[in-house]
């Protein structure tokens, strides 16, 4: 069974290291749309501490997905600095950022993005499938993770034989296989019904807490935000409010 106890026995919130896992400083993102310039992010700054579950919330077009993409290096800021695990990323080449993603970041996508020709356990192994490491230990870890997400009985199932919730749980296990410091989840419940979405978020929160993994998730879903340790509300490319999850939320900014 996978050891989910932090190595030094401390609480997850204090395990990792000192300093922010994610640091965003004065970030702008501009897109050219014909002759116009779209300001997708305007001077955004925040930090995420180890063990946090931070939710980016806002209507479509508010910039939350763009921000998540910048955190993962899937796109680069026009101006400003994104640091991951203390490492500034503006000077990194694509292959250096790729290596940083590999060692530090796990992704969860809205549409799961599992490989249809691989079984569940092979999909979990995917991020490590190209590395000359001990295959047996990777397989053990993948099996352990699938058991942790409640899919120990679905190891050899292809994605087409898994429900949406099961596919997203497989994707959570895949995001965790490389022991990342931070998981970036892009609308992880958007394709799931409410009950399944709740279960998936609960699993994500619980597992990342036990494993000491930080989570940054973008979402429309207030119930995801309710589970977050902090909610950053976004509108028109800016963070317009920061809320602790326990405080009464103000859903007035939301548009379905």
């Amino acid at each position: 069974m996978l050891d989910v106890t932090p190595a030094n026995g401390s609480t997850p919130a204090t395990i990792a290291t000192t300093g922010a896992v994610v640091s965003v400083d004065g970030v702008w993102k501009l897109f050219a749309m014909g002759d116009d310039v779209v300001r997708a992010l305007i001077d955004v700054s925040f930090t995420v501490e180890p063990g946090e579950f931070v939710c980016l919330m806002g209507p479509s077009g508010s910039g939350k997905s763009t921000l998540l993409h910048l955190l993962g290096g899937l796109d680069r800021p026009t101006r400003g600095e994104v640091s991951i695990a203390g490492e500034p990323t503006s000077g990194l080449t694509e292959s250096q950022f790729s290596a940083l993603r590999h060692s530090t970041i796990g992704f969860i996508f809205q549409s799961y993005n599992l490989m249809p020709f691989l079984t569940a356990v092979e999909n979990v192994e995917l991020p490590l499938m190209f590395e000359p490491v001990d295959r047996a230990s990777v397989r053990r870890r993948a099996v352990d993770l699938l058991e942790l997400v409640g899919l120990g009985h679905r190891l050899d199932h292809r994605p087409s034989r898994l429900s949406g919730g099961e596919q997203q749980r497989t994707a959570i296990a895949r995001a965790l296989i490389g022991s990342p410091r931070v998981i970036l989840a892009d609308e992880p419940t958007a394709n799931l019904d409410h009950r399944t979405g709740d279960a998936v978020v609960e699993l994500l929160v619980d597992l990342c807490h036990r494993l000491g993994v930080t989570v940054v998730a973008s979402t429309h879903d207030q119930r995801v935000a309710d589970r977050a340790s902090r909610v950053l509300r976004m509108a028109d490319g800016r963070i317009v409010a920061t809320e602790p999850a326990e405080s009464p939320s103000t859903p007035t900014e939301e548009t379905p």
Binding site: L100, R101, F130
Partner: protein
Amino acid sequence: MTAVSLALAYGVRAAARRRRLLVLPAVTVGTGAFLLVLVLALMPAVRRQGATFGDAAAVGRAAVVVALVVLLVGALEVAIAATRSVSQRAREIGVLCSFGVPPRSVLAALMVEPVATAGIGALVGAVLGAVAAPLAGAAGLADAGPSPVSLAGGVALAVVVSVVAATVASAAPCARAVARPPLASLAH
């Protein structure tokens, strides 16, 4: 296992599910390989018969060129299939890149499809050519059977030319797909 062999192993599995889409390019490559082996194996007979029309060497060369052109058209078809394939697999490429799989591993995995298509097509076509050449001789279509050496040489040449041509023609679209920003691939 090395990183390259792991990438190739993944590439084989990814290509296997798409095998139906690869039949046509493989058949074209195989046809070219078949013709090339047949022409090379029966070259003495081709030349003798060509001499009755005029320049024996020129007729022999023309036969080889025709076979090579079919082979290269096959390689081009493979490259077109590879271009279509990387477009259809854009999301897969984006996912691999977002998990930090090194670009050269992704490229190696993508190249399996065109190289295997050309290699398998050429091998099957060339072996059929090597079987057909002695039969053609025995049936009296050619006045002399091929030597085993010319058959083996023809098969090797057909396979090597096919694989090299398909690799060269497919490398650019595959490399372009890998070099795209991951976000562009994921949004595909």
